[in-house]
């Protein structure tokens, strides 16, 4: 599988994302936002960061970058597209994923390891994850509180589009384990076509035995099974 990691001005997790994909033995190229070609990539990732400084709303400007026309076309044609953190914010701004990401209820940037639980096996990224396991991976964001109206939430549930919940170390999904106030502890979702994925936590940052932080590797391995 050939991965393309889009680099917007202000993206800062592009190197991390490329590095982890390469460590999985797959090719990853950077796609500069001013270009339009996706270089025949099978899987596009919008990485974390502060695209265009995020001075307006996170992700609000990046969706107008030249490369996004073809990224959107790729997704509409059924190609895989995943947004991590700021990438997730860009995907909701581009209406490729439903809902919005609001400022954390603490009103602060939060950087720490949290626990994550897969909600379903019916998606590429969760296909063989243990639904009873709590995966420990970092979050690092100021605007990660997932919110959607009731109709959208009903659709998400009905279509099994919720992929990840924040949970405690025993896998319990509860308020105490919700770091940012997301509705129903939602940490990641996919679109109805199941080819567009968004998540706030950073699996790529927990994928190296040298860091004693490896649960993210299990999640990313799902992409290349």
């Amino acid at each position: 599988m050939k991965f393309g990691v889009v680099v917007f001005p202000g993206s800062n997790c592009d190197d991390d994302t490329v590095g982890v994909i390469e460590s999985l033995g797959h090719q990853a190229v950077k796609l500069w936002h001013k270009e339009t070609s996706l270089q025949n990539c099978d899987f596009i990732i919008l990485p974390g960061g502060f695209s265009y400084g995020d001075y307006l709303r996170s992700g609000a400007i990046a969706r107008f970058s030249p490369i996004m026309d073809n990224v959107i076309k790729h997704a509409n044609d059924g190609g895989y597209l995943m947004g991590i953190c700021n990438g997730f914010q860009v995907l909701v701004e581009a209406h490729l994923l439903p809902g919005v990401l609001l400022r954390n209820n603490s009103q602060k940037f939060i950087s720490k390891n949290i626990y994550l639980k897969a909600a379903t096996n019916q998606s590429l990224i969760t296909q063989s994850l243990d639904l009873n396991n709590a995966y420990k991976i970092p979050i690092a964001h100021a605007e990660g509180r997932y919110f959607a109206d009731e109709k959208t939430l009903e659709d998400l549930k009905a279509n099994d589009q919720i992929l990840f919940y924040y949970c405690d170390e025993n896998g319990q999904v509860n308020d105490a384990a919700n770091p940012n106030g997301s509705l129903f502890n939602i940490a990641g979702i996919c679109n109805a076509g199941r080819n567009v994925i968004g998540m706030m936590p950073h699996p790529e940052r927990a994928a190296d035995p040298d860091l004693a932080n490896i649960d993210g590797l299990e999640i990313l391995k799902q992409l290349v099974l």
Binding site: P9, N12, D16, G19, F50, Y55, N113, A140, L211
Partner: protein, 742 residues
């Protein structure tokens, strides 16, 4: 140039912060009276911030040599250390105290921006940041406002810039209520041989200004940082710069790209004193001159005067001298990143800086006379031992009552809840610490930050340390302790200390008692750096940290130390691992409570000398701990520092929710044993099967040690009595700071 009548007088020179003899010297250098632009140039370049005129005599006594040094103190924007494997580490610490006192958010944010530019202007990609923060009484509304503003400023800037903040220190004392200290540290990695230099030469080579446009923010910031904070300081608000981490991120990528392209003769960031500082320092170093057309500098507003453009400290800018004929390459790179890249002049052989605006020569000054090591003044300041020093030495431990029966819990609880001891989680969680896939401490805490160097097996091990209460009590001993503690933190993490950078925060150098503190601190730093073979690679001096009402802050020479960890497997962590592991103290318990948090805050005794410290003992203990780690004889290592033994035991217990049962030493006062801060002691835990080998190893090195007890399931037990449960101590420790700030 103006006619003689319109030229400024001595009065103007004084208003700009120059001394009468400095004004005379400027006239001598120029052979005429300076105009206002030139006078402004000298006033900022000869300010302490740029010229080190009141400190350089003593700074030169510090050791700066080692076989690992690729760029020594004063040679470049930051020190550069050879890590081996063809890699170098550029690292430095710098203060942003005065701006943060007035506008904590922007002051702290631009401090982070400035220190990172010092690193990437050398061609090194920053990989980790630390910071050292000191605030006043936490009960004051103003302090809470400053803490929240500074932490948010550091977080917002560093998080968007995309470099992890992996550690630091936060300390509270009344002496910092008016003058908080904000010291920011950054370390970056480059390939040896690929480093850039802050130099200019080659007649006809074009000079470019790149990055943000120049505005009126931060004009005179360097001079502002070189005077006392007064009630009128808030009128200097324009002297505080405004930061834009997005621009900084673009500037980082573009700068590294152009350095890699190989068309750069020299590059320097614009920090203090803006364009004038970069043009003069680069020209003086390369023994060349420059002609600069200020009309070509992109500005944020029209009609900026020459001195405003020259002195502006607008952030996120660089000055680059490019090889003639390769201008288009430079322009193409900056165009890619949507950044300004304007040629504003060229290199000459005159050794003079000639600034034009609208075709008129507005300033003409020799580059070398502006800079440190050239014509900038050097002063030997008077110093005098302050009366308090001998008073503090008179302290007798017997004048303080030892803990009463059952009082351990109360004192322990007090310390767990004290903002200087309690966890700094509330601060740390606002900083992105996991970006870059390099922080090796996230799930494996160590005394110092351990950061993976990608493309190599090595890690850098970094820490910032200074207990300024010790330095105040005894500048020489206190500063030696700061260096020793930094080295101890690195050794306890498995690293080898290699070099330091320093941030010297003091009061007004014209006050002899303040200058005595400065001189003492330098002597102590010299002594300790020689002992640990950690040369000083640079840093900065921040004087005038004092207000008219409250006097100077504690002398605070913050030490930023760099160590190297060769193999991941040699990393040591601080947390207790298994129930039943044996707990030992490496080093000796001493009947000493001097300058401890216990004595100062719990007992309320402010006057005491610095804690017990013998440099030779310290070296021996560190050597012993290093050998224990190398031979895999210990499970954990944690140095004893603020709060003493019981606090260290608690800190080792928290990560894995363990407890401990120890016995105290009947020959030592109970408070000294549990809460004293005598130096050169390390808490270690040992698996039972390694006990014999562990003891044999220390005996063979004649290193003193004591068996304290054992790791247990949950409670904290001293001499059979429960001092606290792990859970309740943990709750206090981890939430005290947040509660105090609300």
């Amino acid at each position: 140039m103006e006619s003689n009548e319109s030229l400024p007088t001595l009065e103007t020179a004084k208003k700009l912060g120059l001394l009468p003899e400095e004004y005379d010297r400027i006239q001598e250098i120029l052979g005429r009276k300076p105009n206002f632009t030139e006078l402004s140039i000298f006033s900022v370049m000869w300010s302490e911030h740029c010229s080190y005129k009141n400190s350089i005599v003593w700074l030169k006594t510090l050791p700066k040599d080692s076989p690992r040094m690729l760029a020594k103190a004063g040679e470049e924007n930051a020190g550069l250390v050879d890590l081996g494997d063809g890699l170098g580490c550029a690292f430095k610490i710098e203060s942003h105290n005065h701006p943060s006192a007035l506008e904590p958010y922007q002051g702290a944010a631009t401090g982070v921006g400035g220190i990172n530019r010092d690193i990437f202007t050398m061609g090194a990609r920053p990989i980790a940041q630390l910071n050292s923060l000191r605030f006043g009484n936490i009960e004051l509304a103003k302090t809470k406002w400053l803490v929240k503003g500074v932490v948010k400023g550091i977080g917002d800037y560093g998080n968007a810039f995309g470099i992890p903040t992996v550690g630091g220190e936060v300390f509270f004392d009344d002496c910092y209520s008016t003058n908080p200290l904000v010291n920011a540290f950054s370390a970056g990695i480059l390939k040896v041989g690929k480093q850039a230099s802050a130099i200019s030469y080659g007649v006809g080579n074009p000079v470019f200004i790149v990055g943000s446009a120049t505005g009126k923010d931060g004009i005179g910031g360097a001079s502002f940082a070189s005077e006392d904070i007064t009630a009128k300081s808030s009128e200097k608000l324009p002297a505080v710069q405004v930061g834009d981490p997005f621009q900084e991120k673009l500037l980082l990528e573009a700068s590294l790209e152009i350095i890699e392209a190989g068309c750069v003769i020299g590059i320097q960031d614009m920090g203090a004193a803006g364009i004038i500082c970069s043009t003069s320092e680069m020209s003086a170093k390369g023994e060349h001159g420059m002609i600069i057309d200020l009309s070509k500098v992109p500005t944020r507003q029209p009609n900026m005067k020459p001195f405003e453009i020259l002195l502006s400290e607008s952030q996120e800018r660089m000055l680059i001298v490019v090889e003639k004929g390769r201008e288009h390459e430079a322009k193409k790179i900056f165009e890619k990143w949507d950044l300004n890249c304007e040629q504003i002049g060229e290199v000459t052989d005159t050794k003079r800086l000639q600034f034009f605006q609208d075709g008129q020569l507005v300033a003409d000054v020799p580059a070398d006379d502006l800079v440190l090591g050239g014509g900038a003044p050097i002063y030997h300041r008077e110093y005098r031992e302050p009366a308090y020093y001998q008073e503090f030495k008179k302290f007798k431990i017997d004048s303080v009552q030892d803990l009463e029966a059952g009082e351990i819990s109360k004192a322990f609880d007090f310390l767990m809840n004290h903002p200087n001891i309690a966890s700094k989680k509330w601060v740390a969680e606002q900083y992105d610490s996991s970006i870059g896939r390099a922080n090796r401490n996230t799930n494996a805490p160590s005394d110092a930050a351990v950061v993976k160097v990608h493309g190599s097996k090595k890690s850098i091990v970094i820490t910032v340390d200074c207990n300024s209460r010790y330095v105040n009590a005894d500048p020489e001993e206190g500063c030696a302790i700061a260096v020793a503690e930094a080295a101890r933190n690195i050794v306890c993490s498995g690293g080898v200390p290699v070099a330091i950078t320093n941030c010297l925060n003091f009061g007004n150098p014209y006050v002899p008692e303040v200058y005595w503190q400065f001189v003492g601190a330098i002597k102590g730093m010299r002594k300790a750096c020689l002992a640990f073979e950690t040369p000083v690679t640079g840093g900065n001096v921040s004087f005038y940290n004092q207000s008219s009402d409250e006097g100077p802050v504690f002398p605070t020479p913050t030490i930023g130390m760099l160590g190297i960890l060769e193999e991941a497997s040699q990393k040591m962590t601080l947390d207790f691992k298994e129930e039943g592991d044996l707990i030992y103290l490496v080093g000796e318990s001493v009947n000493d409570i001097a300058s401890s948090e216990y004595l100062y805050s719990y007992k309320g005794v402010k006057a005491s000398p610095s804690p017990h410290f013998v440099l030779e003992t310290e070296q021996k203990i560190q050597g012993g701990v290093a050998s224990l780690i190398q031979q895999s004889l210990i499970q954990s290592a944690h140095d004893l520092s603020d709060g003493g033994l019981l606090v260290a035991l608690a800190e080792s217990s928290f990560p894995r929710q363990k407890g401990f049962a120890i016995n105290s030493d009947q020959n030592i006062r109970q408070d000294a044993f549990l809460f004293g801060e005598a130096q050169s002691r390390v808490l270690v835990s040992v698996a039972p099967e390694k006990q014999v080998a562990f003891e044999a190893q220390l005996k063979s090195q004649t290193i003193p040690f004591n068996a304290l007890g054992v790791v247990t399931g949950h409670d904290f037990i001293v001499d059979g009595q429960i001092v606290s449960s792990q859970a309740s101590a943990s709750a206090s420790f981890h939430t005290a700071l947040e509660k105090a700030l609300n």
